[in-house]
């Protein structure tokens, strides 16, 4: 699978990563190489093989649906680049 500059721009947008214009062409080449190498998996017949979800065959444990923790907004937001009164602050999202 060959990836072009436009595809790089599209997946970078999906991933919310800003890629400099000058990096798009080299990245397209690298991603094409990696995807081309990965392509060898298509040689394998995997018809009827279950996709692996977990290496350990166990049931995901469930706990009771109740509050077990919390009540310390200052600790939760201690590392926020910007915040106040126990909230995170972000650029305005509604007009």
């Amino acid at each position: 699978m060959s990836v072009d500059k436009e595809t790089v721009a599209k997946i970078a947008r999906l991933a919310r990563v800003r890629v400099d214009e000058s990096h798009k062409e080299p990245l397209a080449k690298e991603l094409s190489n990696i995807l081309g190498w990965i392509e060898q998996l298509s040689e394998l017949d995997t018809e009827g093989v279950e996709p692996m979800t977990s290496v350990v065959s166990m049931k995901l444990p469930l706990r009771d649906d109740e509050v077990t923790d919390g009540g310390y907004p200052d600790r939760v937001t201690a590392n926020a680049p910007e915040g106040a009164h126990g909230f995170y602050a972000v650029p305005k999202v509604v007009e």
Partner: protein, 492 residues
């Protein structure tokens, strides 16, 4: 070099138990060693004051008769483990200034066992790399040098800082994490022992996530015994990690009986890859001979899907990484860029600036293989092949108790080499990735030197949750190899 820093972790433990040294003395010697080894760049953050406090508290506990299994022993903690109040970076610019308000379960387990924190060791950014060259804080230098050549070499990755620190005698042991070989490959490159336990053995809670279905914490030390002692403290069920397995943790040190008579050791024929250096092949043959001489029976086995493990890994790991790393958006912690634009612009600017090239490359690959139209062709295909790889191992373990392979296809390479070719770099993990995909335990043991005088490792793989056999056979291999070479650089 100080007598106290040249001890193995087990020797230091026994010395403290006999009262012949205090944790404070042992810790002071190691703090000095960490400072003396700064040229290696093995630590991102040194914590000497905290170390001395912890050592003094440990000496008090010992006096009160409350010594844990790692009581008073100074260690390094890979900077992927969240440590309460201590800068935690994952070697990424995007976690600038992050001081967790909580402690990872594995590190907490080690403090509960009495261990002392010397500092946070360097790594590849978000544990993505096999050279330690992708760290935002710069590459780590391997304390080894080729004979007659003083050019710096990589320590391997991603746990390269931990491996270099242990090899250079800065720390008695260190933690690592292994997603595709990140404990075993740097252990091999630095001439130390590195152990990746079974997936689920150690809690992943509080470890910065890379690929959640693969990541597993493990110990790095100078001997098999040291890693066995450390793993016992690190492992255990944790209700905070839903993939943690509720099974009793054995006394791993007790498994080191030296008796492997009648055990069956598998040699996978598919691991003889084209272009493998002759010295790697010779070491492997030597390892086979050592185990035979110790009374084990060597059996050729087949792991037919080995060839497909690396491409499978490079779909699954980036897919999970792209999802795990979505949380780094400039809102809750770390770097924030472009805050005067829209929310989306802030996300893009923060992530574009905060992630290094290798991390960006993997996020983009992951986003691509998970995107509409490609999910089945790549991601589901890879999950199916992963099932086949795990099945290969399950079938092999019906016939054998453990599997012997080389750890890496070469010795340590020069800093800066292979950086322009991602696939060549990925090939470093060709022998470690299959067991990671199957979640199986594995250890790397220093077994010999290359023609250039660099350490080479042999890898032993075991059945799920049978770390005891891995340690037992590993102990025999270590004894037979009698590896006693030391790196060119030792902290003094």
């Amino acid at each position: 070099m100080s007598d106290l820093t040249n001890l193995t972790l087990a020797e230091a433990r026994d010395l403290l138990a006999k009262g012949e040294a205090s944790s404070k003395e042992l810790t002071e010697a190691h703090i000095a060693a960490v400072e003396a080894a700064r040229s290696l760049n093995a630590f991102i953050t040194e914590t000497p004051e905290k170390a001395l406090q912890m050592a003094e508290a440990s000496d008090k506990r010992r006096k009160a008769g409350e010594a844990g299994v790692l009581e008073g022993l100074p260690i390094g903690m890979k900077d992927l483990f969240c440590t309460e109040g201590v800068l935690t970076t994952a070697a990424s610019h995007i976690l600038d200034g992050f001081h967790p308000t909580y402690e990872s379960t594995v590190s907490q387990n080690m403090w509960d066992a009495g261990a002392v924190l010397l500092g946070k060791t360097n790594l590849d950014e978000f544990a993505m790399g096999s050279s330690n060259m992708t760290s935002h804080y710069g590459g780590v230098e391997n304390p080894w040098r080729k004979s007659g050549d003083n050019r710096p070499l990589v320590p391997g990755g991603s746990s390269g800082g931990s491996a270099a620190a242990v090899a250079a005698r800065c720390a008695l042991g260190a933690t690592g994490t292994d997603t595709g070989g990140s404990i075993r490959q740097p252990a091999a490159f630095c001439g130390i022992v590195g152990m990746k336990p079974t997936y689920g053995r150690c809690s992943r809670w509080g470890i910065v996530a890379f690929a959640s279905s693969l990541d597993q914490a493990g110990p790095m030390g100078r001997t098999v015994r040291d890693t066995a002692i450390m793993l016992e403290a690190m492992a255990g069920y944790d209700a905070k990690d839903s993939t943690s397995v509720n099974a009793p943790v054995p006394n791993y040190e007790a498994a080191l009986t030296g008796d492997i008579k009648g055990m069956k050791i598998g040699i996978p024929k598919e691991y003889r890859i084209d272009g493998m250096p002759a010295e790697i092949d010779q070491l492997w043959l030597q390892g086979i001979k050592w185990l035979e001489e110790a009374g084990a029976e060597v059996v050729e086995i087949s792991l037919p899907h080995t060839h497909y493990a690396l491409p499978t890994y490079y779909i699954i790991a980036p897919a999970e990484a792209s999802s795990n790393l979505a949380r780094y958006d400039g809102v809750r912690y770390g770097l924030r860029e472009g805050a005067d634009g829209s929310l989306d612009e802030m996300y893009e600017a923060t992530r574009g600036k905060g992630f290094g090239m290798e991390v960006q490359r993997r996020i983009l690959i992951g986003t691509y293989v998970l995107s509409a139209g490609y999910y089945d062709a790549y991601y589901n295909k890879a999950r199916r092949v992963r099932s086949l790889i795990a099945r290969d191992f399950a079938q092999a373990y019906e016939k054998v108790d453990a599997i012997l392979t080389p750890t890496a296809p070469s010795a340590a390479f020069g800093m800066g080499d292979k950086m322009d070719d991602p696939i060549a770099m990925y090939l470093n993990d060709v022998f470690t990735v299959p067991a990671s995909l199957a979640g199986l335990p594995g250890i790397s043991i220093p077994a010999g030197l290359s023609q250039d005088g660099l350490p080479l490792g042999l890898q032993l793989l075991g059945k799920a949750f049978d770390e005891e056999t891995v340690f037992k056979v590993g102990g025999v291999l270590e004894e037979a190899a009698g590896f006693d070479a030391t790196p060119a650089f030792l902290a003094a």
